[in-house]
Amino acid sequence: MGIEARNITKTFGTFTALRNVSLSVATGELVALLGPSGSGKTTLLRIIAGLEEPDDGSGAILFHDEDVARTQVGNRKVGFVFQHYALFRHMTVFENVAFGLRVRPKSQRPGRNLIKYKVMRLLKLVQLESMANRYPHQLSGGQRQRVALARALAIEPKVLLLDEPFGALDARVRQELRQWLRRLHDEIHLTSLFVTHDQDEALELADRVAVMNNGQIEQIGTPDDVFHKPATEFVVKFLGQVNFFHARLEGGKVHFSTLAWESPEHAGTPSQPAHVFIRPHELDVNIIRNGHPALQATVKRIHSAGPNVRLDLTAESGERLCAEMTQERYRSLNITSGSTVFVTPRDVKVFADKP
């Protein structure tokens, strides 16, 4: 394992930021900690870095199977990229990147030329060779972010930790840097863990995603797993827009609105209330009943500017729904605001109240 944190608990006064959280990241893997603010993701990252101490009674923290829980932050050899970069404002880009090498004890400090070579190689890696003598305030946000990364890599870290690495950038730069970071990771294969509150970022960038809520990890898995096989209601709700219904489980079927949906995995569950979630793109929209069970609904609004078309619907039984389809499908349906349509779910996620 590249990173392993066992049974971490952390309280700030009366607030519990982490409840007995365990996490492992395989060597060379890139894992995202995804969650809303206050979910404990940054605290977990800072504890792994050694910037915070877990409460007494928490378990070990291992980097490549070596326990570092008692190791001071400066000796853990973590590359940490801060949310607002924390560049040293009075140092040039070169000096920032060289800092970690220059503060080593004399016996371990590389010589001047070696430092220069290493720094320039890193600046080349982050495509900033020409900026070596600039000061942080002379750089754009994206460039500062890459300097922060180069500085973190300079100490040849065992693991790379990034706190909301793209949080302070505007949308277009985020997109570019995201792809760039993925390519960089594929090149250097450093065990990496990053914190984000943006599900697109997590799903696109990470090998695995840990979804956090309320100081706990709700689910950890590949982007496909967490998106298509969410383990908890929170995971469904957090990963994008979703239609929600109050429902009732009875004899292997779930009843919601005017529909009854086969739910084989709840075949043995006693009769009880449940929650049903359907993603907008999992709703089939037709203008006539096609034999499948369907909800009758009225089109309220059409958002057609974009790769997909989104419909706001109100069901016969009063629920508001949202459905998404391709432009071709939309054109073939030939509907307008006020049309009556029939909606059939392709896939539903069912969560019993008492699982």
Partner: protein, 286 residues
């Protein structure tokens, strides 16, 4: 839940630096100040009362308090104008004028004291205007107006030393003010005068009051710039800090300590007032 007096931090040196800070603070400030209160407690209550309410002492309170109040008020009025002019208008030499505002901080009080005395003495640059044959003084009876060696002189000195406080507390408050709120007021039909009175003044009022209180507090304890121009006549132009020095020179340590305790209490009351003001001024902050 665990009770934490200090949040954990990776930065080193908290114990050492905090220990040194507390030690130095105690040795240099807290223990000597405690000694003052202990000394004033070596006399009994009726002696303490007698020492602090002696007519000569009460006269000095009235003079110090009154002159400080007038000086701080003058500063509030003119400081508001000066700060406004420095923040909002541009004119040649503005930076120089801005830098000069700090002169009363930078100038040793004894130097200010003798300079002001020289200017406001009956034969001084300004003093002579107010003398019995001066162009202002001639209208005020056979003696004209005396400034130096009278309470007027004390007010002049206390205005001088309090001047930067109002200006320097108002400037940032005025700079932080968003011009959008003034534009909004204007777009809603307010005249410039209404905008100033109803929008700008309420916004900067806490800073104005803070500056006033700071100038007042400074004036209460001021010594160096006042003693030269005051004349130092008991019952007439003797300020409280001077009275403390006098008691000390007579080796009446306990009496000096008693009067000092009263003065300190007044200063602390003003300090408390300033803290409440700051708290109050943040009530709209998000």
């Amino acid at each position: 839940m665990q009770l934490t007096l200090k949040e954990r931090s990776v930065l080193p040196g908290f114990g050492l630096t905090m220990g040194f800070t507390l030690l130095y603070l105690s040795l240099l400030v807290m223990i000597p100040l405690a000694g003052l209160f202990l000394k004033s407690a070596t006399i009994n209550w009726s002696q303490f009362w007698a020492a602090t309410t002696d007519p000569r002492v009460v006269a000095s309170y009235k003079l110090t308090f009154g002159a400080s109040l007038i000086g701080a008020t003058i500063n509030a009025v003119f400081g508001l104008i000066v700060a406004w002019v420095l923040v909002r208008y541009s004119f040649p030499g503005k930076n120089l004028v801005d830098a000069m505002v700090d002169l009363p901080f930078a100038m040793p009080t004894a130097v200010s004291g003798i300079a002001l005395t020289a200017i406001y003495a009956p034969n001084g640059w300004i003093g002579q205007w107010f003398a019995h044959d001066g162009w202002i003084g001639q209208w005020f009876g056979p003696n004209g107006i005396k400034i130096a060696y009278t309470p007027l002189g004390i007010i002049v000195a206390l205005t001088f030393i309090g001047l930067p406080f109002v200006v320097r507390t108002l400037q940032p408050a005025m700079e932080d003010m968003d011009s959008e709120i003034e534009e909004a007021a204007a777009s809603l039909g307010a005249t410039r005068r209404q905008t100033f009175l109803k929008v700008i003044l309420p916004t900067i009022l806490p800073a104005l009051l803070t500056g006033f209180a700071l100038a007042f507090a400074r004036a209460l304890g001021e010594y160096g710039s006042v003693v030269f121009i005051a004349g130092n006549m008991p019952m007439k132009t003797e300020i409280t800090p001077l009275l403390i020095v006098t008691k000390l020179e007579q080796y009446s340590y306990a009496e000096a300590a008693a009067i000092a305790v009263v003065t300190l209490m007044a200063s602390f009351a003003v300090l408390l007032f300033i803290n409440l003001l700051q708290w109050w001024s943040r009530r709209y902050a998000s």
